[in-house]
Amino acid sequence: QDTQVAVGGLKQDTSAPVEVTADALQINQTEGTALYTGNVVVVQGDLRLAAPSVLVVYSEAASRLERLEATGGVTLVGPEEAAEAQRADYDFDTGTLVLTGDVLLTQGNSALTSESMIVNLDDGTARMTGRVRSVLQPSGGN
């Protein structure tokens, strides 16, 4: 069953500049890919995504960013929400961010877990799918 969740804090202008910092970067020009490794942090507006490895696919012709794949355990932090998952795929064209694998979404003192979550960054809504369960945080716990 799917659960629709409002994640207003994750609303984001997906055309805003994206800053990526890391220990190392390898760009393969022929493939149009940039592989960041080691403490990778991706920041766009108020969104901050951290992962050990992030592959960016860019279009050389249009000289712009197309999508990125963060793997190896991802944490995503917005002004109001935070999420964790094994992997995150961000498509800049469609403005969707898909988290997959042990997804944990925390908002205030409520938390939801699921197998995957699709966030529409344009309107700040998310759909969680696969064994969605809510986890009640002990109040005042965080």
């Binding site: 994206v18 990526v20 190392a24 970067l25 393969n28 960016v56 860019y58 000289s63 712009r64 960013l65």
Partner: protein, 198 residues
Amino acid sequence: MARRDGAYSRVIAWLKILLPMIALALLSSLFLLSRKSEPDMRVPFSDALSETDLGQENVRRASYAGMTERGDMLTMTAGTVRAVGDGNFEAEGIAARMTLLDGGEVTLDARRALMRQAEDDMVLSGDVLFRNDAGFELRTDSLTASINRIAAQSGGPVTGTGPGAIIEAGRMEIEAVGKDDDLILRFSGGVRTVWQPE
């Protein structure tokens, strides 16, 4: 002279045909053989210069063209070039351009270059600028570039731009890898990039 019996004249007749044929075969194989031993096209910059007597004094507007092992064309021009001993040369105002097998182009400009014959490379320093047709433009203070294959490493930090991105890093390496020699740019020592999605 009486006419000998038929055998003799028949042998002569055959020889008149066979001998020119053999000569022809010999000639063409000679030609074929010589093509295989093409002189080695890859003459490192420093050898080219030291062979000429110009190698000793200052040379104005020197230029060099050669080919890397896999066949990329390398052309270089320099303002002044002078020999600095054991086959090494120092050049001012150097501009190198490499046309890759796949048609791609890389250019390297720098204020100074030290051509090292033993290492078959050149150490570029002073406003080193790396550019290529994929839209990368990267600046650093020093870069060591091999002459006979596509490989280079910066001596220190690099800043510049790529297709749709600003790039800053502690160090940079350039290399052509894989069977069709994709150009790989490796940045390390801390990397910061800003991409512009739109």
